[in-house]
């Protein structure tokens, strides 16, 4: 591995760490790409090559995971949406449905007694949403149009 390839991987790792740390802030792919010193389109390709999913997909999965915990605790859908850094309720609901297979309203209103009975560390693992690439059965049941779309990226200037 050349020093340049190593440096690229380290930039991608720092970008992923940034998503893990700051997902609840307004964060978009161009901003993250800037921290990785790459154009948004190049960054998205490189990130997917390294981690198996796009940075937008990784960010949204992280946000939805947190939103699921907030909804289980009784938060309103709007509050959960805002608390995890999403600014549009429509796109939040669409992403939530894509990733979990149900709408946030349906998820919030259904029974979570089994999750509440688990130790929190177990619940965290079992309720962790999987990106579509890692859930073949669920992906197969869904229409093609519901997969996470890549964020709109500005043309490289």
């Amino acid at each position: 591995m050349t020093p340049d390839e190593l440096a690229t991987l380290a930039h991608l790792r720092r970008a992923r760490d940034m998503i893990d740390r700051d997902y609840a802030h307004p964060l978009d792919v161009p901003t993250i790409a800037k921290h990785a010193l790459m154009s948004p389109a190049h960054f998205s390709r490189q990130f997917k090559a390294a981690y198996g999913e796009t940075p937008y997909g990784y960010l949204m999965t992280r946000r939805i995971e947190r939103a699921m915990a907030l909804l289980r605790a009784g938060s309103s859908v709007t509050d959960a949406c805002m608390a995890v850094g999403c600014t549009s309720l429509g796109s939040f609901s669409a992403s939530f449905s894509t990733i979990t297979g149900e709408t946030p309203t349906a998820y919030r209103s259904r029974e979570h007694a089994a999750v509440e009975a688990m130790p929190p560390c177990i619940a965290k693992l079992l309720t962790r949403p999987m990106p579509p690439v890692q859930q073949p059965q669920r992906a197969a049941r869904r229409p093609q149009s519901s997969t996470i779309r890549e964020a709109q990226t500005a043309p490289v200037s």
Binding site: L9, A10, R14, D17, P120, K124
Partner: protein, 133 residues
């Protein structure tokens, strides 16, 4: 019969940089430095846990080019982590941060129990520190 962990191997991209980091950030000391060919295996240890050795070596040390490449990629992508216990989380956080480590998470109470913080070592491995109960 008692069985306990004696050595833990930490793969690092640059041995000297990592010796400085681990000695500075965690207060470890060098116990052994063994060279073979182009590679070194450096054992560090803590006076707090004299029976455990931390062995630092590079990804290609004792491995094929292909295996070393694969391991180096995983290390740099941040695939590995170690979790430490500390009796003073805030003091540990300040000490590790002062060494210049990348901060992943400031000390916080986790919903699943522990109060902890996290850093990356110079090669990309996560080091998490958990407050002892």
């Amino acid at each position: 019969m008692t069985v306990s962990l004696q050595y833990v191997n930490i793969t690092v991209n640059d041995v000297d940089e990592s010796i400085a980091f681990y000695c500075d950030a965690l207060g470890l000391e060098v116990r052994n430095d063994v060279g073979s060919g182009d590679f070194r295996w450096v054992t560090l240890g803590s006076p707090d846990q004299p029976d455990l050795g931390y062995v630092l070596s590079q990804p290609h040390a004792g491995r094929s080019q292909a295996d070393g490449d694969a391991l180096q990629e995983l290390v740099t992508k941040g695939a590995f982590q170690f979790v430490f216990r500390t009796d003073d989380l805030d003091a540990t956080f300040e000490k590790v941060r002062a060494s210049g480590a990348e901060v992943l998470q400031e000390p916080m109470d986790q919903p699943w129990g522990p109060r902890d913080c996290a850093f990356r070592d110079p090669s990309g491995t996560m080091l998490r520190f958990s407050q002892a109960a």
